[in-house]
């Protein structure tokens, strides 16, 4: 075990002497947590609306005003020809066209019924869908306004209404940052654990020093532990920096069960380090290792429930997502930081990630050959 001391001392010296690694460890969490939660936002704003108004009536103006005052829409175009409207969509000056037909007001007053036409540019799918949904909502509420104008109170409400009040648990203001930050923390840990460890080992191969270690009496497990332990600890450093940034910038208090988060992260890091090790065993240069790790990282992140809910993925993708270790960490981060979950709530996660860890590390040690 005395040898371990020398191995670890060497690894730490090399890490702290490498300015690139230090920059990564401190700047990566800072930049990702400062920029991403603000920029990568699901809430769609600034939808450009064009209005084709054939009616020019009081009611049509009222509707236009209501749309204009909503924070989601920018009224960019106005005309009375639908042909013009299509041109706006083609030239992308409008994402959404609302066509108000002639006699809109007349029909509404006389027959209590009128039609509107919505055309949506669906090139950017989510934007178009959400835009149409927002517009429908505004029109519905405008409808209510008119109705209440006509009905004389305090008569009985002629039409029973169900009003829906939603209460957002665990994220009361539906703040998008609160949702994103734990996920980004999870990705950061994955990068440090999976990328840096793989690159570090492959670098020894590239330089040729690994040969020298392979003829030395260092045992397989000593070499591997020497590589794992420093990056395991660095993972905690990154996690701590990340938690501090999310508190200072986003005001997210990680809940009373911080210990749980650290414990789970510790086990998770072991699993993802095993992944890094495995990548390094099958690559000979840092370039190769980076490309392979990048390929997996993309899948890891996109199929982890970080950006899109797993439940809405097709069945096969859901299976991939539940094999993906990142899924579990993203989930646990959100559980602990938003819901204040305790260890017993994540038994399944612990078992799954523990199993993955054992599997990946066993494979890694098994495929690491001291000789060819």
């Amino acid at each position: 075990m005395n040898k371990m001391k020398y191995i670890l001392r060497k690894e730490f010296k090399q890490i702290f002497r490498d300015p690139a690694i230090l920059r990564l460890i401190f700047l990566m969490p800072a930049i990702q947590l400062l920029i991403l939660p603000f920029a990568a936002d699901y809430e769609i704003k600034n939808i450009n609306v064009g209005i084709v108004d054939h009616d020019h009536s009081t009611y049509s103006r009222g509707l236009i005003q209501k749309i204009e005052f909503s924070s989601y829409f920018n009224l960019t175009e106005y005309s009375d020809s639908y042909q013009m409207g299509l041109q706006w969509i083609e030239s992308e000056t409008a994402d959404l066209i609302i066509e108000i037909p002639t006699n809109f007001e007349k029909n509404l007053v006389r027959e209590s019924e009128a039609t509107l036409f919505l055309a949506v540019n669906a090139v950017n799918g989510p934007k178009g869908n959400l835009g149409a949904a927002y517009a429908s909502n505004i029109i519905r509420s405008y409808n209510q306004d008119i109705r209440s104008e006509w009905i004389q109170w305090p008569r009985m409400n002629p039409e029973p209404q169900i009003e829906v009040v939603a209460s957002h648990w665990y994220n009361p203001t539906s703040n998008y940052q609160v949702f994103m930050v734990p996920g980004i923390l999870a990705v950061l840990l994955t990068m440090v654990g999976g990328f840096l460890s793989a690159l570090n080992i492959v670098r020894e191969k590239e330089i040729g020093t690994i040969e020298q270690l392979n003829v030395s009496p260092i045992k397989k497990h000593q070499f591997i532990l020497g590589k794992l332990i420093p990056f395991w600890l660095l993972g905690f450093v990154v996690l701590t920096i990340g938690l501090m940034i999310s508190y200072v910038i986003h005001g997210i208090i990680p809940g009373p069960n911080l210990g749980t988060l650290y414990l789970f992260s510790g086990i998770y890091l072991l699993a993802i380090l095993g992944f890094g090790l495995l990548v390094s065993n099958f690559t000979d240069t840092q370039q190769q290792a980076l490309m392979v790790a990048f390929f997996f990282m993309l899948i890891f992140i996109l199929l982890s429930g970080l950006y899109t809910p797993i439940e809405s993925m097709p069945k096969w993708a859901q299976i991939v997502a539940w094999i993906n270790p990142v899924t579990y960490l993203v989930d646990v981060c959100r559980m602990v930081m938003l819901k204040g979950s305790v260890l017993s709530d994540m038994t399944f996660h612990l078992v799954a990630i523990g199993f993955t860890g054992v599997l990946l590390n066993t494979l890694a040690i098994w495929t690491y050959a001291k000789r060819t």
Partner: protein, 255 residues
């Protein structure tokens, strides 16, 4: 046969018996057999691609022989490759110290992983730095040293744990003639201390410094004798001529 090998291993540092390594259909090392006595300086000569490095890697336990066997420092390379490792030193073709560690940090690391005690390590480090006149550069990053110095440091570190054999794979490649001379001086000193030297080279003047040399052509040992004997037998003026005559028969393209 096996019993025999162990009997012989008492007087020999290395015994190789029909050692063979094939990569697919390519036979890198083709059934070579030789013995190296303890304390001998044994030169392994050959053109690029003749199979020198592959043979050496098998003897160090870095590469598994396809067939044949060898005993190094009294251990079978196939079954006891881990035990061999404490008893050998190895200096590879690639520069093998850590460039981003200082001279003393490299010494400390390699001394440490070979299990030198703290006191022994401190003492060896001091002696080593003194012998190489590197005391002032102890805290210099190895990256900043000239190549010749790096190679001398590399060699000194490879024998710091007092192995019974040291394997040197083209240790003087790219080194200037003066430093090469100093390097060989160090090899002689190590041999005087009883360390067996197994060295590959393609500098023929260096071949003259060896007690015995084996010349490899296309994976086979074409000649094995002292340089003196070889020259006399082939009526050649120097080792260069000996080598040319033997290597001319090579069919493998040399890079």
């Amino acid at each position: 046969m096996k019993e025999n090998l162990y009997q012989m291993s008492k007087s020999y540092s290395i015994i190789a018996e029909s050692l063979t390594k094939t990569f697919g259909s390519f036979t890198a090392v083709d059934s070579i057999s030789f013995n190296v006595s303890a304390g001998e300086i044994f030169g392994f000569l050959g053109a690029n691609g003749a199979g020198k490095t592959t043979a050496m890697r098998m003897l160090c336990g870095l590469s598994k022989p396809t067939s044949g066997s060898a005993v190094v420092a009294g251990f079978n390379i196939d079954k006891e490759s881990e035990s061999i490792k404490q008893r050998i030193g190895y200096m590879s073709q690639k520069f093998s110290l850590y460039q981003d560690l200082t001279v003393s940090e490299n010494i400390e690391f390699y001394g440490g992983i070979y299990g030198l005690g703290k006191q022994k390590l401190a003492q060896s480090a001091k002696e080593l730095l003194h012998r190489l006149h590197l005391e002032k550069d102890a805290r210099t990053l190895v990256r900043a040293l000239p190549l010749g110095w790096k190679q001398k440091l590399s060699f000194s570190i490879a024998i710091m744990h007092q192995p019974s054999i040291v394997f040197l794979d083209e240790p003087t490649g790219g080194v200037d003639p003066v430093t090469r001379r100093q390097f060989w001086q160090m090899i002689y000193e190590a041999a005087d201390h009883g360390i067996t030297i197994f060295v590959t080279t393609h500098y023929m003047d260096e071949a003259e410094y060896c007690d015995r040399v084996a010349i490899m052509v296309d994976g086979k040992i074409e000649a094995l004798d002292s340089p003196q004997q070889m020259k006399e037998q082939m009526k050649a003026e120097d080792m260069n001529e000996v080598f040319y005559r033997l290597a001319r028969t090579a069919t493998r393209a040399s890079a």
